[in-house]
């Protein structure tokens, strides 16, 4: 298994290289000139040219790419064109909120969605199944920002239980952290929950029709044991794949959720950088996202071993 992990980790290198080339070319070939934005309305052509020179944007693309790649190999992602702050520092400042938001969302979503999916499969065709599926369709169809606004209206403005916006680090204050993270995590979790609940239900329905489930019932096992030990465990491989793939969905949702709740995370950093064509920041953040995604998929693949002993790496 260790050999497999090492092989997979080595395989991330070409993946990251392809991502790096793709992101770099896409950004530099798309319209938008940061020098023109920085120079402002009063600037002459000459001033814009000078700023382009200062930023190294006049060099041929391969020179710019080479320089960036070389710095990257030294752990230097460059500096933001606008603030002049190192990209690593900007990402460092923003990592915790996004990480915590994603983790809390996954935690809430998985702990709620899997039992709901199991119950829906167990009670298939009943009003419980229909209620769960209606909720899932709702979670899947309503845009993230609408759910966010509804939760702000209810949870913050009407009930006054949670702050409207902002983020408090878990290291600063646990109650402060919890009060700030619950609404965004529920907002972001809605679509994720819907996805997992639907997948759990579908896979469980397949598994519940298997012979070994019938045998388990015939042995006189309690329903709970059959559902959890026999059925769910066998259904977990496709469910964990969905959980892993859903993280991509989550990354997209993070951008909107962080904007609605004014959370200073990586999603907001990305949007702001894209709107200003802040090349080094966009490149840095996308690399971090891609790396996380690749790593997470590796973890998901490894988790299959826990659910299915037939799988060997």
């Amino acid at each position: 298994m260790y050999a497999y992990i090492i092989r997979r980790l080595i395989a991330t290198i070409p993946i990251m290289a392809i991502v790096a080339v793709f992101v770099f070319m896409l950004l530099h070939l798309s319209p938008g000139d940061p020098a023109a934005i920085i120079a402002g309305d009063f600037a002459t052509e000459e001033q814009i040219l000078k700023i382009r020179e200062q930023l190294g944007l006049n060099d041929p693309l391969y020179v710019q790419f080479g320089g960036w790649l070389l710095n990257l190999l030294h752990g230097d992602m460059g500096q933001s064109i606008y603030s002049g702050l190192p990209v690593t520092k900007l990402i460092g400042q923003r990592l915790e909120p996004t990480l915590m938001l994603t983790l809390c969302t996954m935690l809430i979503a998985i702990t709620l969605a899997i039992p709901l999916g199991v119950i829906a499969a167990w009670k298939v065709g009943t009003w419980i199944d229909r209620a769960v599926m209606t909720l899932a369709v709702f979670g899947f169809s309503v845009p993230v920002f609408v759910i966010g606004y509804l939760l702000i209206l209810g949870g913050s403005r009407k009930l006054g239980w949670f702050p409207v916006q902002g983020y408090t680090s878990i290291l600063e204050s646990v109650p402060g952290f919890l009060s700030h993270i619950i609404l965004p995590a529920l907002t972001l979790g809605a679509v994720y929950m819907a996805l997992i609940a639907r997948m759990t239900r579908a896979t469980m329905l397949d598994v519940l029709n298997e012979d070994y489930v019938r045998t388990a019932y015939a042995k006189g096992l309690a329903t709970r044991k059959v559902l959890i030990k026999h059925a769910l465990k066998n259904a977990m491989v496709p469910i964990s794949t969905t959980i892993g793939l859903g993280v991509a969905l989550l990354i997209g949702g993070v951008v909107v959720t962080e904007s609605v709740f004014a959370i200073p995370g990586l999603g907001r950093l990305t949007v702001d950088a894209v709107l200003r064509t802040d090349y080094p920041v966009i490149q840095g953040v996308i690399l971090v996202f891609s790396f996380t995604y690749v790593l997470l998929n590796l973890l998901i693949d490894l988790s299959y071993v826990l659910f299915d002993p037939r799988i060997r790496y």
């Binding site: 319209p31 938008g32 000139d33 023109a36 934005i37 920085i38 402002g40 309305d41 009063f42 002459t44 052509e45 001033q47 814009i48 000078k50 200062q54 030294h74 752990g75 230097d76 500096q79 933001s80 606008y82 603030s83 002049g84 702050l85 190192p86 690593t88 520092k89 900007l90 990402i91 460092g92 400042q93 915790e96 606004y149 702000i152 209206l153 913050s156 403005r157 702050p163 409207v164 916006q165 902002g166 680090s169 290291l171 600063e172 204050s173 646990v174 109650p175 402060g176 904007s259 609605v260 709740f261 004014a262 200073p264 907001r268 950093l269 949007v271 702001d272 709107l275 200003r276 064509t277």
Partner: protein, 537 residues
């Protein structure tokens, strides 16, 4: 900076965790955290502060930041007159060519060093290399020197009527004074440190682009004794800390204000105002009495708008009310009509020549368009859909031009793309353009020198590159004239020529409301949001 920066942030967080763990535990156990006696003003600014050097960029948000941190030699007051600010006073020689400016006592930078005349000279020179009005001043400057620690001597090579107006310029780029060691930075590079001598200090460690900016009261700042008036007078810091909290989503920012999480919301969206106003503890005021001018700019290099008749046709085809309703919606926040190129309510207000804009006349517009020889070619209007003020103007212009028979194509894009596309000098079909919409604060449009959208120096002019020698001569005559009455005569002649030449369509004058909670006292009425004089109860 390498990955160590990232590690440092994490280390800092870990240190913070150790230090704050007892507080967190106490919080969990229901204990009350010690209440700080520090007064904090929490603001939602109109944009995110991405760069902190107000000479390097013209961004209004950086200018507002500059006013907190830096001070100016002279400043504009509410009568639009220039008053001494860091200057104790000044003398002008009889021939009007030598200005001797003396610094007042007690001026100190945030790093503890005293402000000297050398700092002033270096700062003005750096500003003069970047700012349009500064460049004009530098062109007529023979020498700018420090006679001693407290005396600056500016010698002109020819008579110039706008010396004080330039040094007391209220909007971007403002001639802020910084220490010589920083002011000697290449004007095309950002300064590495933000050290000013203004009423607040910039807390660099707490700056998180995209999230927050923090300023602390500078205890050694000595305010002037006069009451605060626009950028002039006593800048008294009445709060210990000013926190800018950038909330990009207008609905969330409004809810944060309603919930009392922030005190002051600089530019609430107009369509959300009824909701904000429903709370009696919130005041909504237009703190900028001068307002903003909408601008629809033509490209003079290519047909059809290289022809004066086509531009005049466009002027007859539109009406300001359409633009203003699309931008602001509520007539409480715009002028019904403003025909002054140099703003209504400003010192150079006149409506000479504005008839075409006042009375929409589609038939006349069609006749003028026919006279221009318009051949039905496609007219490209750049449409930055992410900026409502610009997007609204693009849509209204497109509709009006279609009404008179023009073949209009709206090219949707984001603002960042538009800022580079408008600089393209190629033909519209090769990546150029015919029209783009924008806006200027009145503070920038008040006279023909600062209002760069009337400049008509051809290839050197602002995007669109109009060429008109008469306009340029009148602008220069205005700058050199020192007599106010004669300046007004020049303005009248200039505006008549502008309405004939049509460098751009002034699409109206509107006023951006500001919302703040009723615990916020002392908000100043000014074209720039100033945060001195404000207290939080």
């Amino acid at each position: 900076m390498p990955i160590t920066a990232f590690a440092n942030v994490l280390k800092k967080s870990a240190r913070h965790a150790v230090l704050s763990a007892p507080i967190a535990v106490a919080g969990l156990m229901g204990a009350t955290a010690p209440v700080s006696a520090e007064s904090v003003l929490k603001i939602v600014p109109h944009a995110d502060l991405r760069n902190v050097d107000p000479i390097w960029t013209t961004a209004y948000i950086t200018r507002n930041h500059g006013y907190l941190v830096f001070d100016t030699l002279f400043a504009l007051d509410e009568n639009l007159e220039v008053q001494p600010q860091m200057a104790a006073g000044h003398d002008v020689s009889e021939d009007g060519l030598t200005y001797t400016i003396t610094l007042r006592d007690g001026l100190t930078f945030h790093d503890g060093s005293p402000v000297t005349a050398e700092d002033v000279v270096a700062s003005i020179k750096r500003w003069g290399a970047r700012d349009g009005m500064g460049q004009k001043l530098m062109r007529v400057t023979a020498s700018l020197e420090a006679a001693d620690d407290k005396t600056v001597v500016l010698t002109l090579s020819e008579s110039y009527g706008l010396v004080l107006q330039s040094l007391g310029k209220i909007s971007s780029n403002v001639p802020f004074i910084m220490p010589k060691r920083l002011a000697e930075t290449d004007p095309n590079k950002q300064v590495e440190e933000i050290i000013g001598s203004g009423p607040f200090k910039f807390v660099a460690d707490e700056w998180q682009p995209g999230n927050q900016v923090v300023y602390e009261k500078f205890d050694e700042y000595v305010p002037r004794e006069e009451p605060a008036s626009y950028a002039a007078g006593g800048k008294v810091a009445n709060v210990d800390r000013v926190e800018w909290r950038y909330i990009p989503d207008a609905a969330t920012a409004s809810q944060a204000l309603l919930a009392g999480e922030v005190d002051y919301y600089e530019q609430p969206a107009v369509d959300l105002l009824p909701m904000i106003q429903s709370d009696p503890s919130i005041k909504v005021e237009t703190v900028d009495p001068l307002g903003t001018q909408g601008v629809v700019r033509f490209n003079f290099k290519y047909p059809p708008f290289d022809n004066k008749k086509a531009r005049q046709a466009a002027l007859w085809a539109v009406q300001q009310a359409d633009y203003m309703y699309s931008i602001m919606g509520d007539p409480a926040y715009f002028e019904e009509f403003c025909g002054a190129y140099f703003m209504c309510g400003g010192p150079y207000e006149t409506d000479i020549g504005s008839e075409p804009l006042r009375e929409k006349d589609v038939e006349k517009a069609k006749a003028l368009l026919a006279e221009s020889g318009y051949d039905g070619r496609e007219v490209l209007i750049l449409d930055p859909t992410d900026i409502p003020v610009a997007h609204g103007q693009a849509l209204v212009t497109a509709q009006a031009l279609r009404e008179i028979g023009m073949n209009v194509k709206l090219v949707a894009m984001d603002w960042a793309t538009m800022t580079s596309r408008r600089a393209v000098r190629e033909a519209p079909e090769n990546g150029g353009w015919n029209i783009f919409p924008t806006w200027w604060l009145a503070a920038d449009q008040l006279n023909p020198v600062t209002n760069i959208s009337v400049a008509a120096s051809g290839e050197n002019a602002w995007f669109g590159w109009p060429e008109n020698q008469k306009i340029e001569d009148l602008r220069n005559a205005f700058a050199k004239e020192t007599d106010a009455a004669k300046q007004m005569e020049i303005i009248e002649e200039l505006q008549a020529e502008l309405y004939d030449f049509v460098p751009y369509i002034p699409t109206g004058q509107y006023y951006q409301p500001t919302a703040f909670r009723d615990n916020v006292k002392g908000v100043l009425e000014a074209p720039v949001p100033f945060f001195w004089n404000i207290s939080v109860e």
